[in-house]
């Protein structure tokens, strides 16, 4: 069971580990702010308030999509590493290698986009090789090689983590508590982080391998255009990888809530059989849910499309019944003293649930017939990424700067104002998308039909607020990480202690 001590000794970092962890966080902060500005520019362009050349728009869209997803996984991987290393042996070299390969991948992606690549994160065959003079096969190859490098780095991290988990628990099934699914006494000390982390080691490794196959096939097609590949099979692999990858950011990010929430509420948050069932189900569901991206490919065997709908609906059970229920009952009547980390964690749960609910609705085949590839789609994933995953990450970062100074968690007036601006801006921003989906506004268009522009203008106002708030948080956290010098010794607050 996670400790109720706010800043336990076994979480302290020093030397190279601290440097690398800080590198992950700083890189994430910089990338998020820059990529938010890229996203804001696109929204302002759709709102007709800024003039953006059409191809630049699609280059920006490629950058924003690939960049935000990559950053989300990179920084939640850092969160998983930060907590998992307390329970199993992780090698720093693997953590470093992941970072280095991620950065090399970013460079390759930037080179590809600078050369004109604008076939989006999906690299949907055969679009990368069909640039019609706007982008070259070489630029597409740079982009895909960047993906491969990032994927290899992530796999190295996962394989090292898998080795550590197996060394400690014997096998991955025992790490996930499967022997306790049907009976026996659940060990309440078994770490939730190990369960969730192992789930993602299994599921996201398989997803990345599927992505690697699609990337290699696409690269072969770029080099030898006469070698054709099946478009439906390739699309299936791409969405298996893509959906799994972004889902992994949530499921790795939620480790932050498992580890930290009880420290701020002061109430134990023990492991339960329901929790283990939830994660066993999640491991399977995240692997088979991707056909909901292919509901409009009628050539797919229809039973696979039914699996897409049923698995999507089922995915809501573990989120609602296990994580959200467990977390909300944990804070209920806890005499919580609100500060930034728990505030972010509650927002993260809200964003995850509401964004997930919108996703479940769209995964219904009958609904997808009229909402597929509308703004409803970015509406749902911006809800759970902006208000969910990023909120989890900010909870970790605010906690981390508190831990550095061994001080009570941040809760200044500016922080609270920033949080409020971020929340309101985020809600307005996602409303613009979701209302657009209701009206049939197409996603991935540089210029919208005139009657659609009002939704872009609403979203742009929200996006400005979000960017302002996030810029403040980034500066605030960077100052907290590097400003001044941490006190040599000060009282470590223990929120479990009423005298705290």
């Amino acid at each position: 069971m996670a400790s109720l001590t706010l800043y336990p000794q076994d979480e302290r970092l020093a030397g190279r580990e601290r440097t690398v962890f800080n590198l992950y966080l700083v890189t994430a902060l910089v990338l998020v702010v820059v990529l938010m500005l890229v996203g804001l520019t696109m929204r302002l362009s759709q709102a007709t308030w800024v003039a953006l050349p059409k191809n630049t728009f699609f280059q920006f869209l490629s950058l924003h999509g690939a960049g935000m997803v990559g950053t989300a996984v990179m920084v939640t991987t850092a969160g998983m590493w930060f907590f998992l290393r307390k329970y199993v042996r992780l090698h720093t070299w693997a953590f470093v290698t992941n970072y280095v390969l991620f950065m090399l991948g970013v460079v390759c992606i930037l080179v590809g986009i600078y050369q004109g690549y604008a076939a989006l994160w999906t690299y949907l065959y055969p679009l990368p090789v069909s640039g019609m003079g706007i982008w070259s096969p070489a630029s597409a190859a740079w982009f895909m090689i960047g993906y491969l490098l990032i994927g290899v780095g992530q796999l190295i991290f996962y394989f090292d983590a898998a080795a550590g988990v197996i060394a400690k628990h014997g096998n991955l099934g025992r790490a996930m508590g499967w022997p306790w699914l049907f009976g026996g006494t659940v060990d309440p000390e078994h770490p939730k982080t190990v369960v969730a982390g192992t789930s993602m080691i299994i599921a996201n490794s398989l997803g990345i391998l599927a992505g690697a196959v699609s990337l290699v096939m696409s690269l072969v097609n770029l080099l030898y255009p006469d070698i054709k590949i099946d478009p439906l099979f390739t699309k299936s692999l791409i969405y298996w990888f893509g959906h799994m990858y972004i889902n992994a950011s949530i499921y790795m990010g939620v480790i932050v809530i498992y580890e930290l929430l009880s420290r701020y509420s002061g109430k134990p948050y023990p492991l339960s059989r329901v929790f283990l069932w939830g994660w066993a189900a999640t491991t399977i569901l995240v692997l088979i849910v991707f056909p909901h991206h292919l509901l409009m490919d009628f050539a797919m065997p229809h039973w696979i499309l039914v699996v897409g709908q049923v698995a999507s609906w089922s995915s809501g059970f573990p989120v609602l019944l296990v994580t959200a229920w467990g977390a909300l009952t944990n804070v209920y009547r806890s005499n919580m003293r609100w500060s930034m980390p728990p505030r972010w964690m509650l927002l993260a749960l809200f964003g995850w649930i509401t964004g997930g609910f919108a996703a479940v609705l769209d995964s219904t085949i009958r609904v997808n017939l009229v909402m597929h590839n509308t703004q409803w789609v970015p509406g749902h994933f911006h809800t759970y990424l902006l208000l969910g995953v990023l909120a989890m990450v900010l909870a970790l970062m605010y906690h981390w700067i508190g831990a550095r100074r061994n001080a009570p968690p941040a809760n200044s007036l500016l922080d609270r104002i920033g949080f409020f601006v971020y929340l309101i801006g985020g809600l307005i921003f996602v409303y613009g998308f979701l209302d657009g989906g209701r009206r049939g506004v197409a996603r991935r268009m540089a210029e919208h039909w005139p009657e659609w522009v009002v939704t872009d203008q609403i979203a742009s106002v929200g996006a400005v607020l979000v960017v302002l708030a996030m810029t403040y948080f980034a500066l605030r956290i960077l100052a907290g990480m590097f400003g001044g010098s941490p006190p040599e010794s000060s009282r470590v607050p223990n929120l479990a202690d009423p005298a705290g």
């Binding site: 699309k235 050539a299 609602l320 229920w325 085949i365 009229v370 540089a446």
Partner: protein, 181 residues
């Protein structure tokens, strides 16, 4: 009410309920509880969790039955039984239809494919709402079946990003009142 309107109401209602639950939890979180109260709330929480599970399961079963019992996608690879058929080919960046005038009130089958990259074949009604859609994928033909209830000018808009000419990739067709209708 169109499907989009129903989804919007369901989502807004769900979001409002979730928001209310969170506000209530946040208010309650600020209150202290002694050990006895905590034990009672844990027991009540477990009981409520079971009811919540039952509620979700019921919604899952009823919802799946309601949305899948008449499978919304027509069988593929079978002979057409529709009164009207249209061959549709998408290519960068235009649509080619074998006919541009259809009759309201009787079933239309669109046989949708692509000559180059993936496109999205979406039909917008005269008032700008999506009626139905399917992917237009090279090497595959997707069979879309739809009955138009109202005459008017309908728009086909590409909904799958296909390069710089994606958004201008649209065309229109006319739906006229059925002869003698």
């Amino acid at each position: 009410m169109a499907v989009q309107g129903i989804v919007w109401v369901i989502w807004l209602t769900g979001m409002a309920l979730i928001a209310l639950a969170f506000v209530w939890i946040v208010v309650q979180a600020g209150k202290p509880a002694d050990d006895g109260t905590r034990d009672r709330t844990v027991r009540r929480g477990h009981a409520l969790q079971k009811w919540f599970f039952g509620l979700l399961l019921a919604a899952f079963v009823v919802g799946s039955w309601a949305t899948l019992r008449h499978f919304p996608i027509p069988p593929q690879g079978t002979a057409s039984e529709s009164a009207q058929t249209v061959d549709v080919v998408g290519r960068m960046w235009s649509w080619e239809l074998s006919t541009s005038t259809l009759e309201a009130g009787s079933e239309v089958e669109f046989r949708v494919t692509s000559a180059d990259v993936n496109h999205g074949f979406a039909i917008y009604s005269p008032d700008g709402h999506i009626q139905t859609q399917a992917q237009a994928m090279p090497e595959y033909t997707n069979r879309v079946v739809h009955t138009f209830s109202e005459p008017g000018t309908y728009t086909i808009q590409c909904l799958e990003y296909c390069g710089i000419g994606h958004e201008p990739m649209k065309t229109t067709f006319e739906v006229v009142a059925a002869a003698g209708g």
